[in-house]
Symmetry: C2
Subunit: 229 residues, 2 copies
DNA sequence: ATAATAGTGTCTATTAGACAATATCCT
DNA sequence: AGGATATTGTCTAATAGACACTATTAT
C-alpha cells in the first residue's frame, strides 16, 4: 500500500482570538449556522485548503490569516498570530476525523470593535473567559481555549505579548491593566513601573507624544518600538 | 460542497528524540530505505492512522508513541514525549500535501543505547547537532530540528526537562553537564549547586542511596521525586 | 604528595515586593 | 479643598554570578 493511499483526516485551523476590554481578558467566538453544533458558539476557523497535484495549497499560517479575515473581518496584518498546539483526538468532530491546528491571536483593543460576522458565521461576540457558555460550545473548543489561556499566561512574563494587547500608544497603567486582566492578580503600581522603565531603558519601548487624559492626573504615554500597522 | 468532500492532506507525526551522551546533546535519526529521500537521514515518524466511519483511528500522541516504538525500539513508557509544533508548508513533501505534527522526546542516557532500527528503517544513529549531514536530511527535517532545539533550550530554565535526560540517579555534576550540553554554556559548580539544592528543598528532588564513583572524589547522588520507569 | 573534583563561604549587583510619601490634575 | 491617580523613594528579602577556599579520594 502506498503512502498516498492511506485514509486521510481533514485538517482545520482554529483561532483563539484574545483582546482586553473593560479590564478583562476576552475572546472572540462565532455562532455556528450549520450542523454539527448549529447555533452553538465556536472558535473561528475552518479547513485548510489543500490543492491537488502540482499546487499543494496554502500554508497553515496562511489558512489561519485567511480564516481570521473571512470570519471576523479583522485586519490580518495588524494581528499577532501564533500557532500553539494541534488537537487531533479521535471523535472530536462527529462527522469525520478532523485534526485542528490551533492558533492564538492578540488583537489591540482599538481594533476589537471592528470584528463582524463573515463567511458562514451567524454572529460574532467577545466573551469574558468566565462567561463562556460552557454547555453551548462546539466540538472540543472548551479544551482548546483552556490550553490557549494557560499558554498566554505562561508567556506573559517571558515575552512581550502584553504589548500586542494595548493601543498603539499607552500609559503604564494601561499595560498594567492588561497584565492584571491576563493573570488575574494585581500589581503594585510602583513596582510595575520600575519593571516597565527597565524595558524603556532596554530600548524595547519609547516615550510617545501626547498624554493620557483619564479625568485624573495625566500620564505619559509610550509606544512599542517596532513597526505596528 | 460538503466538508467531507474537500481534498485532504496526509497527516504524519515526526519525532525529534534527544539524549545527552558524551556531554553532548544528540538526536536520533533514521536512514530511509524508500523514496523519496531514500538513503537520506530523517526524523523517525510516520502517518497517523485514520480509521473510517465509526472508528476514527488513533490520537496524535498515540501515533507518536507507536512510531517511537516501531522505528527505534525505545520503550515508549519511559520516554518523555511532548508535541511542539505542526509543520505544513506546501511542497515540504514532493509526493503530496503532508502536514506533520512534531514531537520532541527526551531519552535518559541509560536507555539511549537500546535504540535499534525497526519498521521500514535501514538504520538508526545518534547524531550531535553539529555533525548532522545537512545535505542529506530528508524533507524539511533540518527546520523541524532547529525549532525543537530552540524550544528545549528555552524550556530548560522554566521546566524540569533536564531531569528527563539524566540517569535514574544522578550527581549534581551530571545534571550540570546536561545543562551545559543543551545550552552550550558552562556553569559555575558552586552556583549551580545552590540552585540545585533549592530544588531539593522544594521537594522536587531527593537524595538517593549510593554514591557516584568517578575516579576522583565521590559525589552524592539524587533522584527525581516522581515515579520513573 | 598531587591532581582533580566535591562541596562551603562570602561578597556584590540585580530584582521583586511591600509600603510610605509626594506630585499633579480634575471636580 | 479633596479625591484620585501618577510618580518617587526606601527598605527588605531572594537570587545570580564571581571567586576564594576547604574536603575528599584516586593515583
Amino acid at each position: 500500500m502506498k503512502a498516498q493511499d492511506y485514509p486521510r483526516p481533514a485538517v482545520a485551523v482554529d483561532l483563539v482570538i484574545f483582546t482586553v476590554l473593560d479590564a478583562d481578558l476576552k475572546l472572540l467566538m462565532v455562532r455556528r449556522r450549520e450542523d454539527p453544533f448549529s447555533g452553538c458558539w465556536a472558535l473561528p476557523g475552518g479547513f485548510v485548503r489543500v490543492g491537488a497535484a502540482a499546487d499543494q495549497g496554502e500554508d497553515l499560517d496562511e489558512a489561519a490569516r485567511r480564516e481570521l479575515t473571512e470570519e471576523t473581518g479583522l485586519p490580518a496584518r495588524s494581528v499577532f498570530l501564533e500557532q500553539f498546539h494541534a488537537f487531533g483526538r479521535a471523535g472530536r468532530d462527529p462527522r469525520m476525523r478532523v485534526i485542528s491546528v490551533a492558533y492564538y491571536a492578540l488583537v489591540s483593543p482599538e481594533l476589537a470593535p471592528f470584528a463582524v460576522a463573515g463567511g458562514d458565521v451567524a454572529a460574532v461576540r467577545w466573551f469574558s473567559l468566565s462567561e463562556l457558555p460552557a454547555a453551548e460550545l462546539a466540538f472540543d473548543h472548551a479544551e482548546i481555549i483552556a490550553v490557549a489561556a494557560s499558554r498566554i499566561r505562561r508567556s506573559l512574563d517571558s515575552t512581550s505579548i502584553a504589548l500586542e494587547l494595548v493601543p498603539r500608544s499607552f500609559s503604564i497603567a494601561e499595560l498594567r491593566a492588561v497584565h492584571e486582566a491576563i493573570d488575574g492578580v494585581t500589581h503594585d503600581p510602583a513596582n510595575f513601573r520600575r519593571r516597565f522603565l527597565r524595558m524603556v531603558a532596554d530600548g524595547l519601548i519609547e516615550e510617545a507624544p501626547g498624554q493620557r487624559v483619564t479625568g485624573k492626573r495625566r500620564a505619559k504615554v509610550y509606544r512599542f518600538r517596532r513597526p505596528r500597522t
